[in-house]
Symmetry: C2
């Protein structure tokens, strides 16, 4: 995989991402605080999975896309956080014994290994509901036009549901053990991971007040990095180091899962990921130098090791 | 249980409810139609649980509450339907082996018995997401003020989540096998069933443009019938006929579940339910004769056999 970055630039990117991650973590800490009057064990379980060292890639994308079209970070935080809640819920459900049956994620026991299956299902459900509660909370959304909010909520709900993330996961689950063709693997990747990543970017674009042309550019960018992200995920499952990844490698192969490398081979998969990132960066042309952070994120997706 | 209704009035009420149910079914048929480009097996599973002979009580409440404050049925249908989607999702998840482990519901095999656990979880997730997608769909919500929509979505999300339905189910699951006190049983009932029923009524009130005072009256009504509904559910689990209920009876006792009759005894539970319905009807005073259908629904909750 060719990445035109020197070590210094890589370190800079990681540092910016770390700073943004901290912002997101602070916001999440407020929205899912110990002060909430939820059943204590449920709240504990929600927080366990939410604060488990995630990269916060999706919410960072929402902030970055929002800012590139002129939005303010502070205002974007509830939406960015809501998308992370949805992502976390999807991981909890995906890890369940009846789904991917994973015991570890990010180096820690998965939610159902700690809290049991029933609580893991309910924890996912609670996080999903909370996402929509936050982005309709009068105190948090007062700086946006209501029409824009409704459009954004619709985008997020569609990306999370049967025509997006859940649809992709359903096809993935249903196809375990059967041989898939390229179209089917593309479908799973686009929906399961791609849809929410694309929506993270578009949500920022909407809320930041982006023009139709700019939203279109962001959509292109979101689609490309979303697919690249999943391809790299597949590659890391083969080539990654368990200690860095925080989970076992080789699981896709063991489960006979539909992956890019299984269909295209490792070499072609790496080329494809690099090409997608290049295209993603090209689609940012309309923003000029302002797009530097979105570019950095795209490059990070390519050089990440976990 | 004393109900001041003659057989004729009972038949009339059932007939009105049947007509409303048909309206809801038609709307749901549109929103979850075979035309959707979802993975076919997922769509099949969503429809299996959605069209399985539910009473559509919650969406009917939304319509009735909306109309009593001057809303139009046609406009209210997407919201009423969304609430039924959320209710159906919660039933699918509640029936799962790791939760209540129920094989039958409404006389048919539960979702996971037909589609498997993984698909049942994803089907619930998909229905939940679709609910929020429908109530933010520009084509369906154009007759409402955006501010009112956001307020309603917030209400529904809160009622469905950790401070509402999911919270109640979590405490219910966590308390199986342990002896609960009255406060705890009340908490479970209020949250698990009551919260969404109350929100169904309030959503109608908001969208119909009800004044603060009228919303307050509807909230009282919703709270009372919500609790009464769950108490009757508990009673039917003991006294109901399996054939009419469409599910096994005695399951609560077998599972040592927290129920009203277990704490208060059957007689006092029946009195409590009747009293709540009476109070619910009293709280409708502000609407005068217009509230006849809401009264009918309250009475139906008391005399229902399934």
């Amino acid at each position: 995989m060719k990445v035109d970055l020197n070590k210094e630039h890589e370190t800079e990117i990681k540092e910016s991402l770390r700073a943004k991650k901290e912002l997101i973590d602070q916001a999440l800490e407020k929205y899912v605080s110990w002060e909430h009057k939820y059943p204590p064990r449920l709240l504990e379980s929600m927080r366990y999975s939410l604060f488990s060292g995630g990269k916060r890639l999706r919410p960072i994308l929402t902030l970055a896309a929002g800012e590139v079209v002129g939005g303010e970070e502070e205002n974007l935080l509830p939406f960015a956080s809501a998308i992370e809640l949805i992502h976390t819920y999807s991981l909890i459900h995906d890890d369940l014994p009846s789904m991917d049956n994973d015991d570890y994620r990010r180096g820690r026991l998965t939610n159902h290994k700690v809290f049991g299956e029933a609580m893991a299902i309910l924890t996912g459900d609670a996080l999903f509901a909370l996402a929509f509660q936050i982005i309709t909370d009068p105190a948090l959304i007062k700086n946006f036009k209501p029409e824009l909010l409704l459009k954004t909520i619709n985008e997020i709900a569609a990306a999370a549901g049967a025509e997006g993330m859940v649809g992709g996961q359903a096809v993935d689950i249903l196809s375990v053990g059967s041989k898939l063709n390229k179209d089917e693997v593309n479908y799973i990747h686009e929906k399961k991971t791609g849809a929410l990543i694309r929506a993270s970017v578009r949500a920022g674009g909407f809320l930041g007040g982006g023009s139709k042309k700019k939203i279109e550019a962001l959509s292109q960018y979101g689609e490309k990095i979303g697919l690249a992200f999943q391809i790299i995920d597949d590659i890391l499952d083969i080539e990654g180091e368990k200690e860095v990844l925080g989970k076992d490698t080789g699981k896709d192969r063991d489960k006979n899962k539909a992956t890019y490398p299984a269909i295209y081979g490792l070499k072609e998969s790496k080329q494809k990921a690099a090409q997608l990132i290049e295209e993603a960066i090209k689609s940012l042309k309309i923003f000029g130098k302002k797009a530097f952070f979105l570019k950095d994120i795209a490059n990070f997706i390519l050089f990440r090791k976990s």
